[in-house]
């Protein structure tokens, strides 16, 4: 459904992304891993059409409406919301038009799935916990039923236990709603546990693309091994006995 074909992005003469190609099937999950500065956020910007590509193209075949964009979940949960608006207003914003009874129904169903008490919707972003704020961000991304959701480091602001809980909820929602997910993360543990495929981005290029479990067991490139071994060493991954 999402096709990224040979995109290159330059910033001030220096290439930030170079000939990056990716594909994502409906309902599938792709994790893009890499270090800071590898071009992960630029890739998201390019897919959203916020950053102009010097070459290549991003196509989204079965978009529900011609002008529809993928939904986005951002890294800093609180910064992702207008601090002066209630979460309800921010969350309902993607719907544009007056919320119908069906929309409200869907809102409460999603709240339930994300383990958010509906009363939290009437609070401001700084009146909920950071984990709750991030789940509100996910709720906003899902409300408009976009079949593609981009996650930009969705867990890095959360503590270890909350990360895992949130990852589980994202995965459950995916099972329920059927959206495809592109997850940008530096956490190989998360990628290995929840993605179907892992793309390793390094200095603007795709260094390696593998099935997630296969990558953890045997990375194909030296850099892939470096990343995996660092994850082992930090306890983000356990060595398979």
């Amino acid at each position: 459904m999402l096709k990224v074909e040979g995109i290159s992005v330059r910033r001030g003469g220096t290439p930030v992304l170079h000939d990056v190609s990716l594909a994502l099937a409906p309902g599938a999950t792709l994790a893009v891993v890499g270090e800071s500065g590898a071009g992960k956020s630029t890739l998201i910007g390019a897919i959203l059409g916020l950053i102009r590509c010097a070459a290549g193209q991003v196509t989204w075949t079965d978009a529900p409406a011609p002008k529809c964009r993928p939904a986005l979940v951002m890294q800093e949960p609180r910064a992702a919301f207008n601090p002066h608006l209630s979460l309800r207003r921010s969350v309902m914003e993607p719907l544009a038009k007056q919320a119908s009874a069906g929309d409200l129904n869907r809102l409460y169903r999603l709240c339930d799935g994300l383990e958010l008490h509906p009363d939290l919707l009437d609070r401001r972003p700084n009146q909920v916990s950071i984990g709750q704020a991030q789940r509100m961000g996910i709720l906003r991304a899902l409300i408009a039923k976009s079949p593609l959701v981009l996650f930009d480091e969705p867990l890095s602001a959360l503590d270890a236990a909350t990360q895992k809980h949130t990852a589980r909820l994202i995965s459950d929602m995916q099972g329920q709603e059927g959206f495809a997910a592109l997850i940008v993360t530096h956490d190989l543990g998360y990628a290995a546990a929840f993605a179907d495929h892992i793309a390793v981005l390094r200095a603007g290029r795709i260094e390696e693309y593998s099935a997630a479990r296969a990558f953890v067991e045997a990375p194909q490139t030296a850099y892939g091994r470096t990343l995996r071994d660092a994850a082992f060493s930090l306890g983000a991954l356990e060595r398979v006995a």
């Binding site: 270090e35 800071s36 950071i130 959360l158 503590d159 270890a160 236990a161 909350t162 990360q163 895992k164 809980h165 990852a167 589980r168 530096h186 956490d187 190989l188 543990g189 998360y190 290995a192 546990a193 470096t226 990343l227 071994d229 660092a230 994850a231 060493s233 930090l234 306890g235 983000a236 991954l237 356990e238």
Partner: protein
């Protein structure tokens, strides 16, 4: 001989965020201080540094991010010299070379200011600075979370190699039990401003007793999450 700090506590705007706590560390020990965010582990870390110093132990603290340790307007050389003066030490080029080599930052330009160095190198510089006075206790607050995994793992490995065989006790503060479990031999679990569990790592992982510890253990490994 042990390092002991008794009656550590903290109150912020009328609320007790750290209940009176005693901490005893053995020389050369590797201790993990783990807990969810808001459990009071950083507060205990700060109180531990102040308490141990008050008790006459040489102690050093490495904050989570180099931004919390270095003044962007001052050069690296300035920071280094200032840290030496604070410890009452004369400048010693060989000590610096030795620490820089151990942490692999010997190629860094000392005339530059922090932002002239990469974040990973800044963090190693802060660690090297913490080791100047060969402290009895080194407290590290979330040493990996501000760095890329590859850099963080490399830094931790270099630090462990340096500390091996030395008397310095390491206290690793982290929310990530997976990280702590790989790096320390004793775990202290914090919950709501108290240490609720304190046990050798292997025993702790095999049989966590409290609710907070069980939650941490259950969410330790990405590939074996409870459903």
């Amino acid at each position: 001989m042990t390092f002991t700090a008794n009656g550590l506590s903290a109150v912020r705007s009328g609320r007790t965020i750290l209940h009176p706590t005693d901490v005893t560390l053995k020389p050369g020990e590797r201790v993990g201080l783990v807990g969810a965010s808001g459990s009071g582990k950083s507060t205990l870390g700060h109180a531990l540094v102040d308490g141990l110093r008050g008790a006459g132990t040489a102690v050093a603290h490495v904050p989570q991010s180099p931004d919390e340790a270095l003044d962007p307007l001052r050069s690296m050389a300035y920071h280094w010299r200032e840290a030496e003066i604070a410890l009452g030490l004369a400048p010693d080029a060989s000590r610096r070379t030795h620490l820089f080599e151990a942490l692999q930052i010997g190629h860094g330009d000392m005339r530059k200011r922090p932002w002239g160095w990469s974040r990973g190198m800044q963090q190693r510089f802060v660690i090297a600075m913490a080791l100047i006075g060969t402290p009895g206790v080194l407290v590290m607050d979330e040493p990996t979370s501000a760095l890329d995994p590859v850099v963080a793992a490399g830094t931790m490995d270099l630090l462990e190699d340096y500390l091996a065989g030395r008397q310095t006790a390491l206290v690793l503060i982290t929310h990530d039990l997976g990280l702590a479990a790989r790096r320390v031999s004793r775990l202290m679990v914090m919950d709501a401003g108290r240490i609720v569990e304190d046990a050798p790592t292997t025993r702790f992982l095999a049989a966590p007793a409290t609710r907070a510890a069980k939650a941490l253990c259950a969410h330790r490994n990405w590939l074996q999450l409870p459903c």
